[in-house]
């Protein structure tokens, strides 16, 4: 194939590509991905209900309309311990603007006492949820600690950060972006 033939071939590819682009347009009923519940950016965050350390329960779907940060952690995990003050600081600054933080402790791999002791030590004021049977952790495919899910006001996961520690600036930038969207 010489260059002229290749150019002709490319021109045909361009024409066919245009036709292909038109016929493969996304129809409104095709763009339903965000309705599926999958722990992945672009999908609706899977719903869960967990007991809280201080009593009561938290249900994720009841927090629609708010920006939610779900942080999976355990007290024995050094990066989880390191990033907790940063999360607390961001929570303190933005809770009045509509930020909710759920510190989902993987209690099946930790202990309620250790979790409570660490939360007290850091002075955590956001709710600490207890995933006692690891069901939510498994459902969210948490393979490493800490793992953080940033969820927008529509309940869609917008960012997942695996590993840590996250700096305050990272958390703040992610939260600010989602809070801005609702204004």
């Amino acid at each position: 194939m010489n260059n002229s033939r290749f150019v002709t071939w490319m021109t045909w590819a361009l024409v066919l590509g245009m036709v292909w682009t038109v016929i493969s347009r996304v129809s409104p009923d095709q763009s339903r991905d965000q309705e599926d519940s999958v722990p992945k950016e672009g999908f609706t965050a899977p719903d869960f209900t967990l007991k809280l350390l201080d009593g009561g329960e938290v249900t994720l779907s009841e927090l629609r309309g708010k920006v939610v940060l779900v942080n999976f952690w355990a007290s024995w995990c050094p990066p989880c311990r390191e990033e907790m003050p940063a999360i607390e600081s961001v929570y303190g600054s933005y809770k009045d603007l509509g930020l909710v933080v759920i510190g989902a402790n993987l209690t099946a791999q930790d202990s309620e006492q250790e979790a409570a002791s660490f939360a007290k030590e850091v002075g955590v004021t956001f709710p600490i949820a207890l995933d006692t049977d690891n069901m939510v952790g498994n459902f969210y495919r948490v393979t490493a600690l800490p793992t953080s899910f940033f969820i927008d006001r529509k309940g869609v996961i917008r960012s997942v950060i695996v590993g840590g520690p996250m700096s305050e600036a990272v958390i703040q930038s992610k939260v600010e972006e989602l809070l801005r969207e609702g204004q």
Binding site: N3, W20, T21, V162
Partner: protein, 248 residues
């Protein structure tokens, strides 16, 4: 899907590791092609190095600029290893710009330098597909075809496999110089043009396409525009004399 590998206290991000391997092997192909084209391979390696480092720094600075109120008070956070705080588009743009400035200052021949990059870039495209396969990103649209894969709670087109397959085909075409290039720069344009065709085709099977307007997928529209530019450049850069025969 195999996104993470824990090695003691270290959490290896497999998709990122794949890209690094792709970069390393790709660089080998670039250097080999640079020597074949009679270029200084050290200068070509430096071009890639400056482009990459400049691109990464620019991607982080652009992210920080977007959240200036946050990073203004915490400038040391710019040094984070977190890959979630990069703006890839800005990184790509500035990376190309910095590499271009380096090439200009070093008086590297523009068209030949592009040709030297083509095989390495073609290899890197394969590794991008592999990294998508490992991370589960760039996933396919829901389907019921017999070869569908179960991913993200649905049976989907194996879009990442298509991506790897087409990248392999393009790499083979470019590496073996299957299509003659009778002028400097044409090999690179062939690579870009073929990649644009592959993108326009594969994008139709993706389940995460960004939509431009009226259901049109952004990647397809951009791919068509790039393809049109490639056709123009293929005509304009063509020379009558047999370039391939000159360089052996």
């Amino acid at each position: 899907m195999f996104p993470y590998l824990r090695l003691g206290p270290f959490l290896l991000q497999m998709p990122l590791l794949t890209l690094l391997v792709g970069l390393w092997i790709g660089l080998t192909f670039v250097e080999r092609e640079a020597v074949r084209l009679g270029l200084n391979k050290e200068k070509i390696s430096s071009l890639i190095f400056y482009g990459l480092v400049g691109g990464i720094v620019a991607a982080r600075l652009a992210y920080a600029a977007k959240y200036a109120s946050v990073y203004g008070s915490k400038p040391f956070s710019l040094l984070s290893l977190n890959t979630n705080t990069l703006l890839p588009d800005a990184g790509l743009l500035f990376g190309i710009l910095i590499a271009g400035i380096y090439a200009y200052r070093q008086k590297l021949p523009f068209h030949k330098t592009l040709d030297a990059l083509a095989p390495g870039m073609a290899f890197f495209m394969i590794m991008i597909g592999v990294s998508h396969l490992l991370s589960g990103n760039a996933y396919g649209a829901p389907t019921r075809v017999p070869w569908a894969v179960y991913l993200w709670s649905d049976y989907r087109q194996p879009a990442q496999i298509y991506e790897i397959f087409f990248a392999l085909v393009i790499f083979t075409i470019i590496l073996s110089r299957m299509i003659p290039a009778n002028a400097p720069g044409l090999r690179f344009i062939q690579f870009i043009g073929l990649s644009a065709i592959a993108r326009v085709f594969i994008e139709a099977f993706r389940g995460d396409s960004a939509i431009l307007f009226d259901g049109y997928r952004t990647a397809q529209v951009v791919g068509l525009a790039i393809l049109a530019v490639c056709i123009v450049l293929l005509r304009n850069w063509e020379e009558k004399d047999e370039y391939e025969s000159k360089i052996g």
